[in-house]
Amino acid sequence: MAGLTGLTLAGARAGLAAGDFTSEELTRAHLDALEETRPLNAFIAETPDHALEMARASDARRAGGQTGLLEGLPIAVKDLFCTEGVQTTAGSRILGGFAPPYESTVTANLWAEGAVMLGKTNMDEFAMGSSNMTSHYGRVENPWRAAGSNQALAPGGSSGGSAAAVAARAAPAATGTDTGGSIRQPAAFCGIVGMKPTYGRCSRWGIVAFASSLDQAGPIARTVRDSAILLRAMAGHDPKDSTSVPAPVPDYEAALTGDIRGLRIGIPAEYRLDGTPEAIAALWERGIDWLKAAGAEIVDIGLPHTKYALPAYYIVAPAEASSNLARYDGVRFGLREAGDDADLTEMYEATRGAGFGAEVRRRILIGAYVLSAGYYDAYYIKAQRVRSLIAQDFADAFGRVDAILTPTTPTAAFPLGEKMDDPIAMYLNDVFTVPASMAGLPAISVPAGLDGDGLPLGLHLIANAFKEETLFRVAGVLEAAAGFTARPGPAARA
C-alpha cells in the first residue's frame, strides 16, 4: 500500500486502531522500502520472514482485542542489541556469525508491546565512531545530499544505520544507543529526532557493551511524539542490570502539553565555539527566540568545564572499552584465528588482531595504556575527577534552569570518508553531546533547520536526571516552532 511508509508511529498506530490497514500491510510496505533503500547500506541484516510472522501474530492479537503500546508497529533495531536467534554483529568482524541465545531486555520490551522487527541496522564497529565508516559491513550513506551535489555524505554515528533508515522512510522508528552522542549526532545529520534518556532509564542487559558507565539505549524517530512513544516501551527497571533504575516509567506522550510558559531555559556561554558555522550559530539564536516566544524564560548560564568533557571522555570511554572488549577471545563466540601450532596467547592475539578494525584497536590500546601500571592515576583517575566537575557544573545549572539549549553538532553532515585520517577531528563531532553523557543526563536532538547547502541541522536540549518529561515537553515546542518539513531526496533540494 502506498503512503504507509510516510506515516509516523503515532499515525500508523491510529491507522491500525481504525482498521485502515493491517500490521502485515504496514510491515510489507516497509520491507519494500528496505529493498528500495538498499544502496544506503543502512541494514546489516534484513529479517523479512521474521517481520511478517510477527506482523501476522500482531494482527491476530488485535483481532482478539489485545493491543500493546507498539502493537503492529515495525521497528528497526541497531545491531548492538542482542536478538535471540538473529545474528548480532556490533558492526564487527570479530562477532561474525554470532546468533545470541537470548534477547536484550530493551528489545524484549518492544516485542512484549507488540512491535515488529524489520531488521538489524548498520553501525560503527562496537559503536565507536561518528561517521559509520568503521563498520565491518561497509559504510552507510546519508539519504541527504547537499544542494547541487551528488557526493555521498556521512549519516553520523554510531547509530548511523538506524538514523539513515528512519530518515529514508525505510522504518518509522529505530532503536539506537548513545555513549557520547551516537543517537543525537546521527539524528541531527539525518534531519530526524534522536533521544538519549538518563543513564539507568533503559536496561543495558543484552546490549553489546562499549563503555558501561556511559552506554544508554534510546529512540530514533521522525517526531518528538514518536520518540516519546518508543521510549515508554523501551524503558523500565530490569533486575538483570544493577544500574537500571527502579522507578516507574511515565507516559512520556502525556508530557507533550505544548505549554512551556514559565520554564527556564539555560544558554551556556561555553558552547559558543570559535569556528562554528554561521548557520549553526544563527539556528541556535532562532531556537532561543522560539522558546522565548513560547513563554519560556531565557537564562545565561556557565558550564565552565565544558571544554574538558571531550578529552576526559576519550580516557574514560576507551578505558571501559578495553576492559569490556577483553571478552572477545576466540573461545566462546565469534571469530577465531590461529595457526596449527599457535599457543593460547598467540590465538588470542591473532583473533583480536584480525577481528578488530582500526578505530576499535586504537581505543583498546589507549584504554589499556591509561589503565596500565604507573598511568592509572595520571589518566583514568584524573579523568574521573574532571567528570565529577562536569557533573557538578550541570547540577549547579539545574538549580537555576529546567533545560539547556545548545546546537547538537558543530557542523552539518560531512562527506563520507572525511576525517578518517584525523581521529581528533572526528572526535570533535561530539563536542556538544559528550558533556551530557559524562553527567548521565537525558538529552534530545530535534531537527530545526537547513544550512546554506540544504542540509539538516539539529538543536539539542539537555534536562536534569530523570526529567525526560520536561525534555519532551520543551522539545515538542521547539519542534512545532521550527516546523521542519524538509525531506531527503529531490523534494528537499527543490
Binding site: 543513564y199 544493577s242 544500574t243 578529552p311 563466540f333 591473532a350 575527577r385
Partner: protein, 95 residues
C-alpha cells in the same frame, strides 16, 4: 606523552591484539597525538575533587546470593568457534 614503537608493542601485547610490525610506528604517532590532546586535563585543578564512580546517584541494589538461572550449557556453547560436546576448546596450554 609521546609513545614509541616499543611501548605500542608492549601495550598491544598486554591487550592481546596483534599489530603488524609495519603498523607500530604510525600507530605510535596516532596514539601520541590522542594522549597529548587529552593531557590538557592537567590544566584543571582536581586536588579536592573525588573521582566520579557512578553516572547517576543511586545505590546499587543488594540481592540474595542464590542460583536463579542455569542449565543452559548447550545454548551457551552454541556459538563457540571450536568445541567438544559440553566444552569450549582452546589450544593446548600444558605440554
Amino acid at each position: 606523552m609521546a609513545l614509541d614503537s616499543d611501548t605500542v608493542r608492549r601495550i598491544a601485547h598486554l591487550a592481546r591484539v596483534r599489530v603488524p610490525e609495519a603498523e607500530l610506528e604510525p600507530l605510535a604517532g596516532e596514539l601520541s597525538n590522542i594522549l597529548t590532546w587529552v593531557e590538557q586535563l592537567g590544566e584543571v585543578d582536581t586536588d579536592d575533587v573525588p573521582p566520579m564512580t557512578s553516572a547517576v546517584a543511586v545505590r546499587l541494589p543488594m540481592r540474595e546470593d542464590r542460583v536463579d538461572d542455569g542449565g543452559k550449557a548447550e545454548a551457551i556453547l552454541s556459538n563457540a568457534p571450536e568445541g567438544a560436546p559440553g566444552f569450549f576448546a582452546v589450544p593446548k596450554v600444558i605440554e
